[in-house]
């Protein structure tokens, strides 16, 4: 689970790209200005209580109110508004045409992620994870499928509302590789607090590897839906202590998992490219095995959490659209988890 908001320095003051750097500049300016205004108010308060009578009279006069109460805030706030909007204007610049484009749709309570071609058609779909190359500005087209959400990766850019029936734009860019947590920043219902995602910034070489992997995975999935490419084992440390892939396959059979996935109704809501599973209501699972998190940025992704989520997602994220599949046996849950792990 990648935390979006905690840590020191706070992510919003620890920019990892040019757009968030502007937000950080704005934040520090506001803190500094707030400090100056507080100092002025405290000084005026001191004069009003303990100051000499002549100063007190001046402070209570009409002139002081016009100057300190109207002119000063008027000028400062207007200036701040103009400066702030100018500074952050580039975050929401319209599409020029040569940028990388990703459409992100807020849903209760997860993020649909669609990588777009230059002409705006969907090239690849994923969920709750956004992969970007370092040093390249990426335009996000933000939409909502139900209520107002807000897209926020504090390390990479500002907040931007996702509004039903509208498309808003937000630019993000990373100048260092890493994993940056994101959240929904607008209250959107019961599980708003558990609506997160991960943004992964790859350096150039890693990005090419990732992209090639995605393409190979898609081709392989198209050839045989029940087992896409097998990645590195998620189990760390001395490998001997763990069951081998073969032993695991003996216990849990991805092919049985595929049949259960199709027969238990999973495919009605979830799509897996290259298979008969083509549901659109829930997150696309074509690459679920490679995701860092499950349940929209909230749980680690391993066999255990996968079984826990499928079997009992309502205990973990009450009210989410996926029912708890507690009608399946432990073995069947294991089969499905084994199948989904291979979708990468």
């Amino acid at each position: 689970m990648i935390d979006a908001l905690w840590g020191w320095p706070p992510p919003v003051l620890d920019p990892a790209g040019p757009y968030s750097a502007k937000v950080t500049t704005l934040s520090w300016s506001l803190f500094a200005l707030g400090l100056v205004v507080t100092a002025i108010v405290v000084a005026a308060l001191y004069v009003a209580i303990k100051g000499p009578d002549r100063w007190k009279a001046k402070l209570g006069g009409e002139r002081a109110i016009w100057l300190g109460g109207v002119a000063f805030p008027g000028v400062v706030l207007t200036g701040l508004l103009i400066w702030g909007l100018t500074l952050t204007a580039s975050l929401t610049e319209s599409i020029r045409g040569d940028e990388m484009r990703i459409r992100v749709t807020g849903e209760m309570w997860w993020f649909r992620v669609q990588y777009l071609d230059a002409d705006g058609s969907v090239a690849m779909e994923d969920a709750n994870e956004i992969h970007i190359p370092v040093g390249v500005p990426v335009v996000l087209e933000l939409e909502s499928a139900d209520v107002i959400h807000s897209f926020w990766v504090p390390h990479l850019s500002g907040k931007k509302d996702m509004i039903p029936g509208r498309r808003t734009l937000l630019r993000i860019e990373a100048d260092r590789a890493g994993e940056f947590g994101g959240v929904c920043a607008e209250y959107c219902g019961g599980q708003h607090a558990l609506m997160g995602f991960v943004t992964v910034a790859h350096d150039r070489q890693e990005w090419n590897v990732w992209l090639a992997g995605r393409r190979a995975g898609a081709a392989q999935a198209a050839a045989s839906p029940a087992s896409a490419s097998e990645g590195a084992s998620p189990y760390p440390g001395d490998a001997d202590a763990y069951p081998t892939e073969a032993e695991l396959l003996e216990q849990y059979d991805p092919r049985a998992g595929y049949r259960l996935f199709m027969d238990s109704g999973c495919a009605a809501c979830h799509r897996i490219a290259g298979s008969d599973a083509n549901g659109l209501a829930g997150p696309d699972l074509t690459y679920v095995g490679s995701r860092r998190t499950l349940g929209a940025g909230i749980l680690a992704n391993n066999r255990g959490t996968m079984v826990g989520w499928i079997g009992d997602s309502q205990s973990l994220k009450p009210g989410n659209r996926m029912p708890s599949y507690d009608v399946l046996t432990a073995k069947e849950l294991g089969h499905i988890a084994a199948f989904l792990e291979l979708q990468r």
Binding site: M1, P234, Y235, G237, P243, L248, N302, G304, A337
Partner: protein
């Protein structure tokens, strides 16, 4: 002299510590154990004291683990067995619902220490 010292050592080692202190882990171990629990996502299936969320109910609650009988109703209740079970449950107890979990051997020991060390009623 050496023989005496050695035999004293052997006697000391042979002594079992009192029950209350036998499984008292260090604070370090407990902290590492809880961190590993959070990272691996054990809460997806278990309610675990000290962890507000997640508190899954697919598997048994792990409250009061120092008082339970057998591990998963089947295995001797010892920290080393628990650590092995955490890493590879179906390997230790064939047919277990719990899948192998991606934690290292030392993390599994820390988790076991945490689970034994959280409740002394």
């Amino acid at each position: 002299m050496i023989v005496m010292a050695l035999s004293a050592c052997v006697t000391l080692v042979a002594c079992k510590e009192p029950v209350e202190t036998r499984r008292e882990p260090t604070n370090d171990m407990k902290a590492r154990g809880l961190a590993a629990i959070e990272r691996a996502g054990c809460g997806s299936c278990h309610k675990i004291p000290g962890l507000d969320w997640p508190a899954g109910r697919l598997g048994p609650s792990l409250e009061g683990f120092d008082d339970v009988g057998l591990i998963a109703g089947a295995l001797p209740n010892r920290p080393d067995v628990l650590a092995a079970f955490i890493r590879n449950a179906p390997g230790v107890k064939p047919g277990s619902t719990m899948p192998p979990m991606p934690v290292s051997a030392s993390e599994a020991e820390d988790i076991a220490a945490y689970l034994y060390g959280i409740d002394h009623d």
